[in-house]
Amino acid sequence: MLEKIIRFAITHRWLMLLLTLALVGLGVWSFTKLPIDVTPDVTNVQVQINTQAEGYSPLETEQRITFPIETALAGLPGLDYTRSLSRYGLSQVTVVFKDGTDIFFARQQVAERLQQVRSQLPGGMEPEMGPIATGMGEIFMYTVEADAKALKKDGTPYTTTDLRTLQDWVIRPQLRNTPGVAEVNTIGGYERQIHITPDPAQLVALNLTLRDVVSAISANNQNVGAGYIERNGQQFLVRVPGQVGDLDAIRSIVLDRRGGVPIRVGDIATVAEGRELRSGAATQNGHEVVLGTVVMLVGANSREVSQAVGARLEAANASLPEGVRAEPVYDRTALVDRTIHTVSKNLIEGALLVVVVLFLLLGNIRAALITAAVIPLAMLFTIMGMVRGGVSGNLMSLGALDFGLIVDGAVIIIENCLRRFGEMQHSLGRKMTDEERFDVTASATAEVIRPSLFGLGIIGAVYLPIFALSGIEGKLFHPMAITVVLALTGAMILSLTFVPAAIAVFLNGKVEEKENRLVAWVRRRYEPILAWALRRRMAVMAGAAALVVLSGLLATRLGSEFIPNLDEGDIVIQPIRIPGTSLTQAIGMQESLERTLAGFPEVKRVFSKLGTAEVASDPMPPSIGDTFVILKPREEWPDPRKPKQELIEELEEALEAIPGSNYEISQPIQLRTNELISGVRADVAVKIYGDDLEQLVRTGAQIQRVLASIDGAADVKAEQVTGLPLLTVTPDRAALARYGLNPGDVQETVATAIGGEVAGHLFEGDRRFEIVVRLPEELRQDPAALLDLPIPLREAEPDESALDARWAAGTPKTVPLREVAQIDTKPGPNQINRENGKRRIVVTANVRDRDLGSFVKELQERVRADVKLPTGYWVDYGGTFEQLISASRRLAIVVPVTLVIIFGLLFMAFGSAKDAAIVFSGVPLALTGGVVALALRGIPLSISAGVGFIALSGVAVLNGLVMIAFIRKLREQGDPLDNAILNGAIGRLRPVLMTALVASLGFVPMALNVGAGSEVQRPLATVVIGGIVSSTLLTLIVLPALYRWLHRDGDIRGVPAS
């Protein structure tokens, strides 16, 4: 069957080459369609619902907004769980759907439910769904800045409010419609607002209230359409404009008429441009800026979108006033280009090395080129598959591809063909005819195709356990497994079709089949060693077994890391300050932080987001910020080979000296993804559910003590939910009753005075700005002035005890706030977290030097015994331990099954359990070299090292397979056992060396890499290089010895393989 395919390929060799050309075309076309990003997207399927609740404290937000929304969302199809947080001014409900749910379906469901719940929310509250984006979404950021010398038309310098206005009304509209952009989110500066700030004393004097001002504004700012009239065949639209056009128009709005004198807004209030009460700010190199973040739609091509955005931004710059510029500060294109660079470097270097090695060992440049051609072809095949399968190109999926391993099959075929060509020429004593050559090609290929296909199949099978991973690990590693399997399949198909066809077409003429000196020299050294190994086979095998045991012990002493940290090139430092830190204070603290960071020679620029942006997709309080540290290209560093970890340590050290903040260090994509997943990242988490926040905090503290006392617990932490200072104005009902007031009167006045009330909009062409009525800033900020705030009294009966009828009008119509309310400050809840519709707090811990399972068991027992939960409260256990345990369980089934499958494949290949076992034994010995290499370089065990081991087992099996098949063939031809082994081993010396050299040399640049993708590639390359050495030794020395020992009775059992 296989031989038929090969013969078909040779007969229709031109067709094959044409098809290959078509593959190239398709592949290149696919490449343009391949979404390329830096890391795989691990975000779950989720919909965020943000509700801005201007002025609401966490308690009110939860009670009035979060709760009804959460309740409405219960029971959605495909729902995994909901979680929510209620903060000052913001309710965020995150609905997480089961993996695989269509995001648009999910959003549709959520939208329907939101429609229903809208009527239950307080007036003016609009729940909105977050952008259709994932953790990979923030692809482009830019700052809007003015030159220090640039002046506006009126001669004043640009303020952050002006810049924000330009961002909102000039830049953003130009970017928002770029294909692939879901959202342009703004943070920093102040949204322009028109502030009407009445002097409370004036209000009192004129017996007006804030409410009067608000209603006067709204009554004076309407445009009305009045239908149309027809006249002389023409149609006239009737319009009654009444909108205010500018600040002067607002000032002249009449509030009341007293004794013939109109009282205008301008008489009692200052009307001016003011600053909004903002929830976030942005800074760059220590000063405030306006920062725009472009969010990419789910599934778009980040490189294309960010390039398009960059071009649009450049165009938008032309429409900005002189001296103002929008500057890109973070551009995913750069990272993506680095990824592409890494991958293409691997590809080119791999191909070059293969050509050189093959040329050196085969002495035939054409053969070398044919083999090398398999690399780009397999690559293009892989890309086609990735585009079809929706796998994005990134450091995980492409960075770890090893082309040396992929061409192994082709190498073996070419080598065998050349050897046979040489033999044939030798026996014929002349050049072969075409027919003869085609025939030899077919039979030579068929001779080794079976073992090499089995080998590739086995390598593919070894990747099965990776497909068993689920959750984040799964999302991270599935693409890697998929691409490797794709590349192997591609190589397999090419070995069957393109390789024989190309050999048939191009390897004509006299084929040099002379053993070159290098191989001959190695062979002369090898022969005595092999003979010795066969004699002392027991000792060799015992030595091998000892080596395996030792390296097994060594493996347990290597550190381990489950998820590798993909280097994105840039750093994010999150300064974390105590809850309640004000935005202004945080900006002040940010200044010294940014100046320190910018002082490093490796740092290109530093910019930060503090608090929450306009679209609250990342709801941070003002006490937390994201400080982006953009690094210069490595070439510009003082020491271009300085590891990033070292730089981070230096940064951390410098930051320690700045008082007032804690820092968490991360990377842009990683940070955003973690925020979105927001699962508990600690090993063990105890979640306490209940009603009363204080009780939850108390129980949490108890559980924290219990947790800390258990052996192996580290980093025990209780979630911080309190600590936000609240200024509470409690209406005094008794006092209010004396004045005939309701608490509502106090609430309304305080809300308008401090928070402000939107009385309408001021339109300037397309731009619209809110008109806000509130107290002057100097009074708002002063708690003492708050106490003097006048609360309007109701109209009363004429006062019988008035001093004099004449001055009766002078009796106060207001009462100061201090008389009717108590004002005090005390800490309140910082944020309220809920999960699945119930308040909860979380206590977390990591587990060190102890088995997770027993830890959790002990924890559960101790909590049950020592913590008394009030009725209506319950605990739940979560954390990554769940995932680890389930992953371990799954692997415990999948790994043995995989091993059985491999053994089954080997058994199919040989029809002999004994031979299958011999080949199989190659795996552990191959692994020893990898373990030793890891230990020597101090690299911990990781999945990516694991992938290296997997690849290694493949090589070992492949070589073993080919060699054993060859020996069996010799024995079938009637050679005695010892001769067959000796000749077989020596005959396979060249291909074994070749595959080993190709695979290991191809990895040398990767092993030494410190740039993009190095964290995935370095362990993998290290394992493979180390393993190849041991694997080659095994194949050449231990395998023959083992074969000799197992076949000591001297005859072959079972059916021959061919």
Partner: protein, 311 residues
């Protein structure tokens, strides 16, 4: 045999990789940060330079004055006794009027000539007091009736400020308490004292009038206009005060931060009276200690940062 080896080894490797994993990303900065919730550190060390760069300032605690002042609303009224209503003694025809609204008049200055209905002779009406003409309610040719005012004259060199004080302030205010009166139109202020507190309380607003006398030196204080006033309702000396900017709330108690060299100590204090910018310290602090008066929040932030964590 061999097979088991392989299975065991692969499993061991994979499971080891799973079990002992500690997520490395995102939490790098949390190392060495074991601060237990609820047990705050009581001191922190900040380098002199870093503190100066951050704007931290200290000053010694000492005695000071606490004066609690409130802003109240007031009205200007003419002083009782300094206002005169000029009438015609005998009804009759107004023949001539000699003064207009706003004219300054002296006591005895003729204001109007009236032809009496009784005697049919003219007589002159003169100003009873010196002052300014507030209103002129007659015109030439009309008959001035008995008891009808022709002019209103007031002496505005002194004015009363009627301040509306509420609730407890009415009890605490004393005659002689200082008052700063501000004109709303231009913000000019004038200092004076409470002269008396009227005995009754207005029912609707539950306010009492505290009255002060104001010298109308520039003549721009006009009766009938509303003014703002700050009354000092309580004034006392205290042995130990700190600016309010030094006071922070931490873990439910009020604290100040005391600098000793480069170390800052947390000092829970018991506070007494306070006004808009000063607070009296009753316990917890000794006079002369260097208290952080600017950027005290930064010290608090630094001390408590171990409790700050990601949302």
């Amino acid at each position: 045999m061999k097979l088991h080896w392989i299975a065991a080894l692969s499993l061991a490797a994979l499971l080891a990789a799973c079990n002992a994993s500690s997520p490395t990303g995102g939490e790098a900065g949390e190392e060495g940060e074991e601060g237990e919730h609820g047990e705050l550190p009581t001191s922190t060390k900040i380098g002199t330079q870093a503190a100066a760069a951050a704007g931290v300032r200290v000053s010694p605690a000492g005695p000071g004055e606490i004066s609690d002042d409130h802003e109240v609303q007031g009205l200007l009224t003419p002083v009782d006794g300094a206002i005169a209503r000029v009438m015609a003694r005998f009804p009759g025809l107004v023949r001539a009027l000699h003064a207009n609204v706003g004219d300054q008049v002296r006591a005895g200055q003729p204001l109007a000539t009236i032809e009496s209905n009784l005697s049919l002779t003219t007589y002159t009406v003169t100003a009873p007091i010196s002052g300014v003409v507030l209103s002129r309610d007659a015109s030439v040719g009309t008959v001035a009736g008995e008891g009808a005012a022709l002019y209103e004259i007031a002496n505005l060199s002194d004015l009363w400020v009627d301040l509306h004080v509420f609730g407890r302030d009415a009890q605490r205010l004393r005659v002689g308490s200082p008052v700063i009166v501000t004109r709303m139109s231009d913000g000019v202020t004038s200092e004076t004292q409470i002269e008396r507190i009227l005995p009754s309380t207005a029912t609707a607003s539950q306010s009492t009038v505290a009255r002060a006398r104001l010298r109308n030196l520039d003549g721009l204080w006009r009766p009938g206009s509303a003014v703002k006033a700050r009354v000092i309702v309580d004034q006392a000396r205290a042995n130990l005060v700190v600016p309010l900017s030094a006071l922070q709330t931490s873990n439910g108690e009020e604290v100040v931060y005391v600098q000793k060299g480069e170390t800052y100590h947390r000092r829970p204090v018991k506070t007494g009276r306070r006004d808009a910018d000063t607070v009296e310290i009753l316990a917890g602090l000794k006079p002369g200690e260097q208290v952080v008066v600017q950027q005290s929040y930064l010290i608090k932030a630094d001390m408590e940062k171990s409790t700050a964590e990601e949302h």
